[in-house]
């Protein structure tokens, strides 16, 4: 994990969700919103204001790039986004950070107590 990717940490939850959403395929704005809602069982519903504020930052930081639409007759207003290698590295770094945090929590009596009851 490069220093470059770690310099972006910690990510806000919404930003992390957007990166994760773009991990498997390129998506447009509404697709990102739907994907996040599906992954979180409706717990996280991004508004368009928040989403495009995040996209603006991701574009400026080169974590995502705009890409061509996969189909020819798509809605011209749609713009598709793709995760860059840096973006992927940042998402992985954040995931690792969250995992370490969770591991540290699991090592405490919080989780041991739950198991005994």
């Amino acid at each position: 994990m490069s220093d470059d990717s770690r310099s972006f940490l910690p990510l806000t939850p919404a930003l992390f969700h957007v990166l994760v959403s773009l991990a498997d395929s390129d998506r447009h704005g509404y697709a990102i919103i739907k994907d996040i809602a599906a992954r979180t069982d409706g717990a996280v519903e991004l508004g368009t204001g928040t989403l495009y504020g995040i996209i603006k930052r991701l574009l400026a930081d080169a974590l995502v790039v705009e890409t061509r639409a996969p189909v020819r007759n798509d809605d011209p207003r749609r713009r598709y986004y793709r995760l860059t290698p840096l973006g992927r590295a940042v998402a992985q770094a954040e995931a690792d950070r969250l995992e370490r945090t969770l591991d540290a929590a699991r090592a405490t009596t919080l989780f041991r107590k739950a198991r005994t009851t």
């Binding site: 919103i33 508004g47 204001g49 928040t50 989403l51 495009y52 603006k56």
Partner: protein, 898 residues
């Protein structure tokens, strides 16, 4: 279809919350995304789902929009700081210029706010007024009689309340220590209503309490309630003993109420008071005397009634009273807002200086506008390229505005430091003890003013350069950026116009400042008619007169009509005390001479009495002749270094058993014996037989150099021992004198009440003109310096842009001196135009300050010529640097560079 359109329109309205740049990049896409979201939600969750979606979206925008705006602002701030850091010289000059303008205007606002603008601490105080009477030339301002107060109260519907207050009586607590005296003030019931005095227990005074035969009542202050009654609620109904003049035994007055804490009157120097009792004719001697002018009057205007209406009604009452009471003939009532009345002689100067500070700020903003405009023109190419590459014009304008606000923000912080210094200087120079001086401070109101001034200044000086640069996307500008296409002359005109306006404004400040300074210098040089330097005045109380066995001899009416002076035993005791005190004080180290007078010079007090001129009939209008009567010991005149114009001073012959004598001043001699010798003439003071005039003294200005001399008559202290002011001329320091005099006075059973150096009183008497002159001078100097800086900046920029032209002139044979002369002529041209424009403004401005001038006229030629010359000299000095630089241009280098 229409529903979709409505939803789209509604979403587009929400999009407007976001910054323009954000909308431009993502707006269309966001519309499309939201439309998909809306359609899916309508299909699956219908109306309830749609409502939740809209609420979520609105909340989302309300959260996101400020963050995006802040993000953009941060970028602009970083950019602006980088630009200003690259040009530190320009930033320093701009910030310093603005800081002076903001600081000066904030300091003056702090003074004006504390003393004039801030409401008085009474509810709805804007409607409170002061009422007094005037009868020039007898007096400019006088309190009213009870008769006059009652007439105004009954006949002026413009006032919701008319109220008055007087010194009052002493009270005692029944059964308490007889040595403990409580102070009670006589007030009309309307006073507590007019001032909305809060009542915490019982009731306030009512009109019925003033009626004849009404039982005596009293309202006590919160402090007395807590101190003497322990805050007990059972205090209402208890009684206090009230002494009433003319009655042997005190009367019982019932406590009917307790006022809230914090209430005090008059404002801002409240009289100490423990209780307030109703002012009635029954219990107040002066209220029954139509010639006892002892009542200050305040009022509360009815809602919707203005001062003009009130004044008209007062004029009518005055004329009605003059018909019924001859002694009121010629008197007029005047009314003014209480806050303006309290500000008194500082009101006009403060308002004038608010205007002056505004002018100073204008010059500062014009300077910075010029600097920014010149800088913006130099960056025209940069902005042209940026706009051509896609930066919005709005973005360019916003960035320049942010730079302007950055400058104004830093200048505001420095300006507050300047204001702090200014406020301290104001407080140091203002007359001691002036009303509401303690309220002058830098508080939240002043901070808000400073922020407002900084904001308006930033808008004023940033907008023109910003708009100008936003039009820089033209080919011409691009060409200039590339170095081709030649220079335009259109930049010279706006810069020149601004400089001319600055010079005109500076001339206004110079003319006003010059006149006020000359007026003050003239005031200091006015012949006072006496020398206050080295003189200390001590007011004292003599010991209580102890009657000899058998009661002693009292004066009868017949005694007072004898041709020679006869003193009562009490007066003889007082005389003995003063003679012994004089002997003891004269022996103190550093004392040159000792004398006595009733009211010392410059104390602000006078003893007016009616006089009768022997051989002259009484005035036809029935109004007595008045003069200021002073009782003076023989040595007093030489102590004060007054000048004898005719006759002699008092001496030891003028005492009990000798004929009555008097000395008059020149003003009195001119008035009653014009063209004659006043020596030997007779004049009576009050009802006593005539005194023979033995001397005429050169007019002393006892009220200060700014006021004309009074009509004065002096009587010998040895014949009328009324003099309770000890006057001491010292040699050198007066450090130990007060202690020594106090000690000697106490040894004789008396007490010193106050000690004041007359020279200090002299400076206090002209403290306001001094303050005004100082501020005017500072404003004028700062104004001309700022204007000169403006001239220098414009000429520097102008010569830099005309390098090629200068090079060509020199190459064609012009001498360097000729090029220097060209630039200087341009500067003088600006100066002359500024003078012409400024003369109009100055002519209007001097009308405002006319009332502040004492010894010069508004059209004083010397002042106008001198300050005009000063302005031209400042312009030439400012132009010297750029002119010499232009003369040193190397034609070869300049032509090659172009």
């Amino acid at each position: 279809m229409s529903r979709h359109s409505f939803a789209t329109r509604a979403y587009r309205t929400l999009l407007r919350l976001l910054p323009f740049e954000f909308r431009a990049e993502f707006g269309e896409e966001m519309e499309g995304t939201f439309e998909e979201q809306r359609q899916d939600t309508a299909a699956t969750e219908r109306r309830r789902g749609l409502a939740r979606l809209w609420l979520r979206t609105i909340a989302d925008f309300l959260r996101t929009a400020p963050c995006e705006h802040w993000d953009l602002l941060r970028q602009d701030l970083r950019f602006g700081l980088r630009m200003l850091a690259r040009d530190r010289g320009f930033a320093a000059v701009a910030v310093a210029t603005l800081a002076i303008g903001i600081g000066a205007s904030t300091a003056i606002f702090a003074a004006a706010d504390g003393m004039l603008l801030r409401p008085l601490p009474f509810p709805d105080s804007g409607r409170l007024v002061a009422i007094w009477k005037t009868d020039p030339p007898r007096f400019d301002r006088m309190t009213l009689s009870y008769e006059q107060f009652a007439a105004i109260r009954a006949r002026c519907p413009a006032f919701e309340e008319v109220a008055t207050y007087a010194y009052g009586e002493t009270l005692q607590i029944p059964g308490g220590d007889v040595r403990v005296r409580l102070l009670a003030r006589d007030v009309s019931a309307s006073l507590l209503r007019a001032l909305r005095a809060p009542v915490v227990l019982g009731r306030s005074l009512v009109d019925a309490d003033e009626r004849p035969g009404a039982p005596p009542v009293v309202v006590i202050t919160h402090g007395l309630w807590v101190r003497r009654f322990g805050g007990s609620r059972a205090v209402v109904g208890q009684t206090l003993l009230q002494t009433v003049s003319g009655r042997l035994n005190p009367i019982s007055a019932t406590i009917v109420g307790v006022l809230g804490s914090g209430f005090a009157f008059p404002y801002p120097n409240p009289w100490p008071a423990d209780a307030w009792i109703p002012l009635t004719r029954e219990r107040n001697d002066s209220a029954r005397n139509s010639r006892a002018y002892f009542l200050p009057v305040v009022g509360r205007l009815r809602r919707g009634a203005g001062l003009d209406t009130a004044q008209a009604q007062l004029d009518l009452v005055a004329s009605q009273l003059a018909r019924s009471w001859p002694e009121y003939k010629g008197e007029a009532f005047r009314v003014a807002r209480l806050s303006d009345d309290i500000a008194g002689p500082l009101r006009v100067p403060l308002l004038a200086f608010l205007g002056g500070a505004g002018l100073l700020l204008l010059i500062a903003c014009a300077n910075v506008a010029n600097l920014l405009l010149a800088r913006a023109i130099a960056r025209e190419g940069e902005f042209a390229i940026r706009i051509s590459l896609g930066a919005g014009r709005l973005r360019v304008v916003r960035q320049l505005l942010v730079e302007g606000f950055l400058l104004a923000g830093v200048a505001a912080i420095l300006g507050l430091l300047v204001a702090q210094v200014g406020v301290r200087a104001f407080l140091a120079l203002a007359p001691e003890g002036f009303p509401r001086l303690g309220e002058v401070a830098i508080d939240y109101r002043v901070l808000l003013f400073a922020i407002g001034v900084a904001t308006c200044s930033a808008m004023a000086f940033s907008l023109v350069p910003a708009v100008r640069c936003s039009r820089a996307g033209s080919m011409g500008a691009l060409g200039r950026a590339a170095g081709s296409g030649g220079s335009s002359r259109t930049w010279r005109r706006p810069l020149g116009v601004v400089v001319i306006a600055e010079l005109a404004t500076a001339l206004v400040l110079l003319v006003c400042g010059g006149l006020l300074v000359r007026s003050f210098v003239g005031l200091v040089q006015v012949d006072l008619g006496f020398d206050p330097a080295g003189v200390v005045a001590f007011e004292f109380n003599d010991p209580k007169v102890t009657p000899p066995p058998g009661g002693g001899r009292r004066l009868t009416v017949a005694d007072s009509q004898l041709p020679v002076v006869v003193l009562s035993d009490g007066a003889r005791q007082t005389l003995g005390f003063t003679e012994e005190l004089q002997r003891r004080v004269a022996a103190l180290p550093g004392v040159v001479a000792v004398g006595f007078v009733n009211n010392s010079a410059l104390s602000g007090r006078s003893g007016q009495s009616d006089i009768h001129i022997q051989g002259r009939s009484e005035p036809a209008d029935g109004k007595p002749l008045m003069a200021d009567v002073r009782s003076a010991s023989p040595g007093y005149f030489t102590i004060m270094r007054m000048r004898l114009k005719a006759g002699r001073w008092f001496d030891d012959r003028d005492r009990e058993g000798a004929p009555r004598v008097a000395i008059v001043n020149e003003a009195m001699a001119r008035r009653f014996w014009p063209g004659q010798d006043a020596i030997g003439k007779g004049v009576s003071v009050g009802r006593t037989p005539a005194s023979r005039i033995v001397g005429v003294v050169a007019d002393p200005r006892h009220n200060g150099p700014g006021r004309p001399p009074l009509t004065e008559i002096y009587v010998p202290h040895l014949q009328r021992p009324w003099s309770y002011t000890l006057v001491v001329r010292t040699a050198g320091t007066t450090a130990g004198l007060p202690a020594g005099v106090s000690r000697e006075t106490r040894a004789l059973g008396g007490a010193i009440v106050s000690a004041r150096e007359l020279e200090h009183l002299f400076w206090q008497s002209i403290a306001i003109p001094r303050l005004v002159a100082f501020l005017a001078a500072v404003f004028a100097v700062v104004g001309v310096v700022l204007a000169a800086v403006g001239v220098h900046s414009v000429l520097r920029y102008s010569t830099a842009r005309r390098i090629r032209e200068m090079g060509i002139r020199l190459a064609l044979g012009a001498q360097p001196g000729q090029v220097v002369g060209l630039v200087l002529r341009q500067a003088i041209g600006l100066g002359v135009l500024g003078l012409a424009l400024g003369a109009l403004g100055a002519a209007a401005a001097v009308r405002v300050i006319r009332s502040l001038l004492f010894t010069v006229t508004p059209s004083d030629t010397l002042t106008w010529v001198a300050v005009s010359a000063l302005l031209i000299v400042a312009v030439v000095v400012a132009a010297l640097g750029p002119a010499r630089r232009a003369g040193r241009v190397d034609p070869v280098v300049s032509l090659r560079a172009e």
